[in-house]
Amino acid sequence: MSDIKNSIIGLISELANIPKDEIKPESELVADLGIDSPKALQLLVEIEDALGIEISDENAEDMNTVGDVIRFCEAG
């Protein structure tokens, strides 16, 4: 597992209170993991700070699954 993938799953696991091994790339952030707006804010800010990248509102809106987040961050 890549470092980025690992750290993103770690962040999501902490925010959603769900064990890491239950978080799959196809898991839906809202429907499956309960990532609501306040949690999404924390996730995006923590990813930006940890990886030193900027995620635009448009890009954030396109992130529906864990895989979407990982792909964006790995590409950035």
């Binding site: 609501d36 707006s37 306040p38 804010l41 995006l44 509102d57």
Partner: protein, 229 residues
């Protein structure tokens, strides 16, 4: 052409609304129960705070935004993407606030990110209606608490009431003080949220904000009840 006419119509409505709000607010006789010095002392050098009041007190926002703009204290407000929100956003900007669009039901993450950036990157403060934009009434949303934790800006709860007012038939039964009414304002102690707060502490902070806002609401209502006796 039709779009331009719509825009023009919106600007005209906002201009009229601004004149009404300014005129109405200028007739109020203000009485502070506490916190006047705290609000008066806010200026461009002050650290950011998150000023919170219930949605049905939204009309008082105009008064607060104008005062803070005069004191050069930069504030940001979040307004929903609804049609009413379009007009409220234009009005908010005209009164001197920066406006971020979003609400828990639409554009919530985008709105919260905008508020977060306002505080963390621009050093602005936030005026927030924690039970907005559609309620339930008097129930604070968690977004406010998370914003406070992440920015370390304390929440400053506030409430207002008037001796004579209209009640709008909205979900929150909004209050609009009548012209020349006496308006009472009360500001509570700041509530800080620890940077390391866990879920249960965040929930406690949320309940604490709700409790403080409700207590302030009781204070301002009781002020007039005591006057009547």
């Amino acid at each position: 052409m039709a779009k331009r006419f719509d825009q023009l119509k919106k600007h005209l409505i906002v201009l009229i609304a601004e004149i009404i709000v300014r005129l109405l607010v200028s007739t109020y006789r203000m009485k502070w129960l506490s916190g006047e010095r705290k609000i008066d002392s806010l200026d461009e050098k002050s650290s950011p705070v998150i000023i919170a009041l219930w949605h049905n007190r939204i009309i008082f926002l105009g008064r607060i935004i104008r005062q803070l703009a005069k004191q050069k204290f930069p504030v940001t407000i979040m307004i929903s993407f609804s049609k009413d929100g379009d007009l409220a956003a234009m009005l908010g900007e005209r009164l001197g606030a920066k406006v971020i669009r979003g609400s828990p039901s639409r554009g919530g993450t985008q709105g919260l990110r905008g508020l977060y950036r306002s505080v963390a990157k621009e050093g602005r403060s936030i005026l927030i209606l924690p039970d907005g934009s559609k309620g339930p009434v008097y129930e604070a949303k968690m977004g406010l608490v998370v914003l406070s934790r992440m920015t370390q800006a304390p929440v400053l709860p506030m409430s207002c009431y008037a001796n004579r007012f209209w009640r709008v038939r909205s979900w929150d039964r909004m209050i609009v003080p009548k012209p020349f009414s006496k308006v009472v304002i009360d500001v509570g102690e700041e509530i800080s949220v620890s940077r390391n707060a866990q879920d249960d502490e965040l929930e406690n902070a949320r309940l604490s904000i709700e409790g403080r806002l409700n207590q302030l609401g009781t204070n301002v209502e009781e002020y007039f009840e005591k006057q009547d006796k």
